[in-house]
């Protein structure tokens, strides 16, 4: 499955040569569509798989300037612009790509930021192959989304370029309205609302339960996919815009939402508390030591930096043989994190097949390259633990009992349902089990706020402008949609902020 690995240095070298050819051709006259289609697709340079699997540094290294200009010139600037409607927030994609073609990186990122305020993050974590890139004309011509213009990599390139070259321009905030907005949660939805409301001249305070801001971008998405320094920079930029961050503040307990709106004088509030309630398998043995939700496992590593063994006080669980159950991005993250935390063998156990896995293909490929094993059409039905008089090992997980499955008729998600094969019980040994089955909504705010309606799953009910059933309160992101993506959370944040700004202007 793993193709021959090409080093970053090799890729940079080929790109330089191709770039010179491109410049020659451009000097000879404007590029035709045929010229553009003959530019080779630029692969994303990565670290060598087996080495990077033991390090926390970012895996995708980013394009060089030459790669960016080459890739940008593959874009046909087609009239229909299907990529724009493929983007959940409708970034003006062909326009920013055109600027990159000409080497105007600052102009490119400025265009992106008219719509998407977190390009360094979205360029890294958006599932572009299901969004903008899926619609790309070039990809459609080749009948392969993998050959579409690498819009995400280009977005990341210009965002990184702006940051690394210190070209970030702060928006000018000319008037101060005297109105106060409370943002609950510092994940992508909350940060987006903070930015848009601050730009409109309102005084914004972001309340965050953790000791650092960033939400799932901080505790969930691992360091090697999204460096925390980037998240910290985005938070810093907001502080420069005048946004106040109150960390270690749990709205619903430290103050209720009503107290914020009355005693603390906030004129409007936005709820972006996310989907942070882990789902467990609800099978016997799930209480054994060494069984973790992916949230706990990743939080110990990402947020609490447990991987810095000689400095961090937070313990992490030493395990050599780890099983991860689940097939989404979080499962891939947990599996790859386990390798970096010293596991010798990591296996993903998934009840359907590779084709039904919701994880991004890129994440699955990276996991495989790094040595993660995949077992399809299997699912744990019981967790087995050690019974011993030795208290040091008693109660530790020693394996799972699993069943084998076949695919039957499609279920509500449209994917074929796994049907257990009778008599197929078998044991798979392990010394840690990570449960990555998704998250439900954090229930605290709904429980502690009167008049805030939610559905049976705890998703806050909103209208077309993200307004909730409670006056002066808006909501967006995973708390409304269920566990989704950074870009969708941002999109809802923008809608909510527009509605809040309109309300406060009255």
């Amino acid at each position: 499955m793993s193709e021959h690995y090409i080093s970053a240095a090799e890729l940079a070298g080929s790109a330089k040569t191709e770039y010179e050819n491109l410049l020659t051709r451009i000097n000879a006259g404007p590029l035709s569509a045929k010229d553009r289609m003959s530019i080779p697709e630029q692969q994303m340079p990565t670290g060598e798989p087996k080495k990077r699997a033991r390090e926390m540094s970012e895996v995708a290294l980013g394009y060089t300037k030459e790669m960016a200009v080459l890739e940008a010139n593959r874009c046909l600037q087609c009239k229909n612009q299907p990529c724009v409607s493929g983007c959940p927030v409708n970034v003006r994609i062909p326009q920013f790509i055109e600027e990159i073609q000409k080497g105007n990186f600052k102009a490119a990122v400025d265009i992106i930021k008219q719509t998407n305020l977190l390009p360094a993050i979205c360029g890294r974590v958006c599932p572009q192959e299901k969004q903008c890139q899926e619609q790309c004309t070039v990809g459609k011509t080749y009948k392969s989304a993998e050959r579409a213009v690498s819009i995400g990599r280009l977005e990341r390139f210009v965002a990184d370029w702006e940051r690394e070259n210190k070209k970030i321009t702060m928006p000018e905030i000319t008037r101060h309205s005297g109105k106060k907005v409370a943002v609950v949660g510092s994940g992508p939805a909350g940060l987006t609302v903070a930015a848009d409301c601050a730009r409109a001249g309102h005084s914004v305070t972001v309340f965050e339960a953790f000791h650092k801001a960033g939400g799932v971008m901080l505790y969930g998405i691992p360091e090697f996919r999204l460096p925390k320094a980037i998240v910290a920079d985005e938070v810093e930029n907001l502080k420069k815009m005048g946004v106040t961050f109150e960390t270690n503040f749990l709205v619903g307990r430290t103050d209720t939402l009503d107290q914020l709106l009355t005693e603390k004088g906030f004129d409007a509030a936005f709820i972006g508390t996310g989907a942070g309630l882990p789902k467990f398998l609800n099978i016997p043995g799930e209480h054994f030591i060494g069984v973790f939700s992916a949230n706990e496992y990743l939080s110990r590593a990402n947020l609490m930096k447990a991987y810095v063994k000689d400095k961090a006080d937070t313990p992490f669980y030493e395990a050599k043989n780890v099983i991860v159950t689940g097939g989404g991005n979080v499962a891939m993250d947990a599996a790859r994190m386990a390798l970096r935390l010293g596991a010798e063998h990591v296996t993903i156990v998934y009840r359907r097949t590779r084709d039904e896995m919701p994880a991004r293909k890129e994440e699955v490929t990276h996991a495989e390259e790094e040595g993660v094993e995949f077992r399809f059409l299997e699912n744990p039905v019981e967790v087995l633990g050690i019974q011993s008089d030795d208290r040091a090992v008693n109660g530790r997980v020693r394996g799972i009992k699993a069943l084998s499955y076949e695919l039957g008729a499609p279920d509500a998600s449209g994917r074929r349902s796994p049907v257990a094969v009778p008599g197929s019980e078998h044991e798979i040994p392990c010394d840690a089990l990570i449960v990555a089955l998704g998250n439900g909504s954090n229930p605290l705010l709904v429980r502690t706020t009167e008049g805030l309606n939610a559905d049976s799953k705890g998703h806050i009910t909103v209208d077309g402008r993200q307004a909730t059933s409670k006056a002066k309160v808006w909501a967006g992101g995973d708390i409304v949609l269920g566990a989704a993506t950074v870009i969708l959370a941002m999109g809802e944040g923008r809608k909510a902020a527009a509605s809040i700004n309109e309300y406060l202007a009255k």
Partner: protein, 285 residues
């Protein structure tokens, strides 16, 4: 930043710390806890019950035992120092009602400290409150005077008989259950094994018993499941569904097993921290 207003040592490894925390003191109710960190970058998040608080004066008090890295580092801080992170008040407040009969509050070891605000609240609600305090020996007894000031009766038990009567807290507890005026409710807080046996004592007498669980936590807001316990047939999170639970439904064996998840690491760290602190003291002489 949260300033330490007062710090004193209550016994061998047990410390009392009063912290400036007006936001937390304001909404805090008996039974709730906080999560504290001594360092933002590499510090651990640990839960500690709020032993006392004053909303007008804007402070909360913690009582903790130095057993691992974080509690040890906390014990090394002094009046005037500041802590970088304190989150609270967390958890569901204790349910306090006027009962038709005495309420017995049993505190074991440092569990006596979180009992204190509960006894205050029970008295405020008009209850007759009998407090049973247990410790291994007289040097480990804490909050005795404080309890005597507010409770209707205080029974002291020590394992070695060096103070009060000799024996475990379950002895007077059972006597009260058998008496003419059995307890309308029992609240037991202390080491899990003590809470387990307090519940086993009250069960045959059908006395409703509430316990406060102290599982390992990471976030304290319900997002990781690290603190999960088995209550009846259901999985509950101590940080958001608790910390109080019906003691007769708690699966004590599972809970105690999970509490030991990082025992060897904890002991290692505590040992290391003490050695480092000693070395520092010696080198500065």
């Amino acid at each position: 930043m949260f300033k330490i207003l007062e710090k004193k040592q209550l016994s061998a490894d047990v410390f009392y710390m009063k912290l400036e925390a007006p936001e937390i003191a304001r909404n805090r109710k008996a039974g709730q806890f906080i999560i504290v960190q001594v360092d933002i970058d590499f510090g651990e998040r640990i839960p500690l019950t709020i032993a006392d608080a004053n909303a007008t004066e804007g402070w909360i008090a913690l009582v903790f035992q130095a057993v691992g890295a974080t509690t040890f580092k906390l014990s090394q801080k002094n009046t005037g120092d500041e802590l970088p992170a304190l989150l609270g008040p967390l958890g569901n407040p204790s349910v306090i009602e006027k009962k038709n009969g005495p309420v017995v509050v049993v505190g074991g070891g440092i569990g006596v400290a979180p009992c204190y605000p509960i006894v205050q609240a029970l008295k405020d609600a008009g209850n007759k409150v009998i407090v049973i305090i247990g410790a291994r020996n007289k040097d480990l007894l804490i909050f005795v005077e404080e309890m005597k000031n507010i409770a209707d009766d205080v029974i002291i038990m020590t394992d070695d008989g060096s103070a009060g009567q000799k024996g475990l807290v379950t002895i007077p507890l059972e006597e009260l259950c058998k008496s003419q005026t059995p307890p309308a409710e029992v609240i037991a807080i202390g080491p899990p094994i003590m809470m387990k046996f307090a519940c086993k004592t009250t069960e045959p007498y059908h006395v409703p018993t509430t316990v406060s669980l102290n599982s390992i936590m990471i976030d304290g807001t319900g997002m990781c499941g690290g603190c999960r316990v088995s209550i009846g047939n259901e999985t509950k999170f101590v940080c958001v569904d608790g910390p109080d639970f019906d003691g007769h439904k708690v699966n004590w064996d599972t809970m105690m097993m999970r509490m030991g998840s990082f025992k060897s690491r904890e002991q290692e760290d505590f040992h290391k921290c003490r050695l480092e602190a000693q070395a520092e003291k010696l080198s500065s002489v």
